[in-house]
Symmetry: C2
């Protein structure tokens, strides 16, 4: 299933096609595609080129690992996420390697890298759905994540599945239109809350 | 100037071409291109679809605004960043709109949106260079950023310039090879620090 962004202004096809489905196929993701996904993350920019992103990957090919990650997910994510053949944790190093100081941009920079990974996935017809709903403390223990690192998100990855495989309430969510704030609610010019004339006079876009 | 990633595994052309130059042309960015950039950010995923990203845009067409943002930059960024025709702040809302609770993923999700913006820029032959080096407290005051929001990064945007326009030490930095950790230092399988067999046996990649 495809569910392209109803964009008010033209955007690149990869960005337009990207979305976070709930229905995943059980089909395993090829090793060479996984290589490309992490290579994409690798080349993201970061503050002082710290590259604070890390990933712990658990696939169905190692059922114990996969089940260990499933055991960290919140109940609401279980019915759909356990179907994904690849589950991951994104993990941020909270300090700079060079001097041990706190890195205020650690989570932000993990976000930059993960979006690269998501778009590389899209280029290979793979889909990603990130979850905030997981037990980070449990994940830290079960996966041996060091103290100066923070588990950020649980990530489901795979080929798209059939929405019919979802229980009815999730199927409805899967089919619902995508919603975003219009541009003029988050792009300001010169001062917070002011219209951004650099974008032209009417740049709000429709509420889609 | 182009400086493509020396990738160990194939990645999409947009991701390969993206980099953060220091030399920007003075040429103004067209309003319709700015619209597409923020539209790209708009369609990023976020925790509970909170969309915590915000942007304050200052262009050379409004010299007072542009200079106000320049005044927040750290000294090291001044010699190159003030040339960029568009300067911005990315700003994260730290709380969920629906209940006021802290949003642990706010900065991360701003990162997701900013990477979309950067790649849409790349698709339009525009380049972005983010800076952690700016006075966030001063920016909060000068741009009227509300208490529950956090200035994340200063962002320079524009068409590429000539490296010859840079002072010698920056010119050297501009021409230096790009460096990244190999994959096996940040991608683990099943447990922190373990090799990820799902990527195949040899996935470290070269240190480039």
């Amino acid at each position: 299933m495809e569910k392209p962004a109803v964009s008010a202004y033209p955007i690149h096809e990869l960005l337009k096609r990207r979305w976070s489905p709930l229905a995943f196929s059980g089909r395993m993701v090829e090793p060479e595609k996984l290589q490309s996904l992490f290579e994409a993350a690798r080349w993201a920019p970061s503050c002082f080129n710290e590259q604070p992103w890390n990933f712990v990957v658990c696939t169905r090919d190692s059922p114990e690992d996969h089940e260990r990650l499933v055991s960290c997910l919140s109940e609401g994510n279980l019915p759909w996420a356990r179907t994904a053949p690849v589950l991951m944790l994104s993990v941020a190093r909270r300090t700079f390697t060079r001097n041990g100081n706190p890195n205020r941009h650690a989570l932000h920079d993990v976000g930059l890298a993960v979006e690269n990974l998501i778009l590389q996935a899209m280029a290979l017809d793979l889909f990603v759905h990130q979850m905030g709903g997981f037990d980070a403390a449990k994940a830290r223990t079960l996966f041996g994540i060091p103290d100066d690192h923070e588990p950020v998100a649980a990530i489901a990855l795979g080929y798209p599945g059939d929405p019919e495989q979802l229980p009815p309430p999730l199927r409805e969510r899967e089919m619902a239109p995508r919603q975003r704030k219009p541009l003029d609610q988050f792009v300001f010019g010169g001062r917070w809350g002011q219209g951004a004339s650099a974008l032209g006079r009417h740049y709000g876009g429709t509420q889609t």
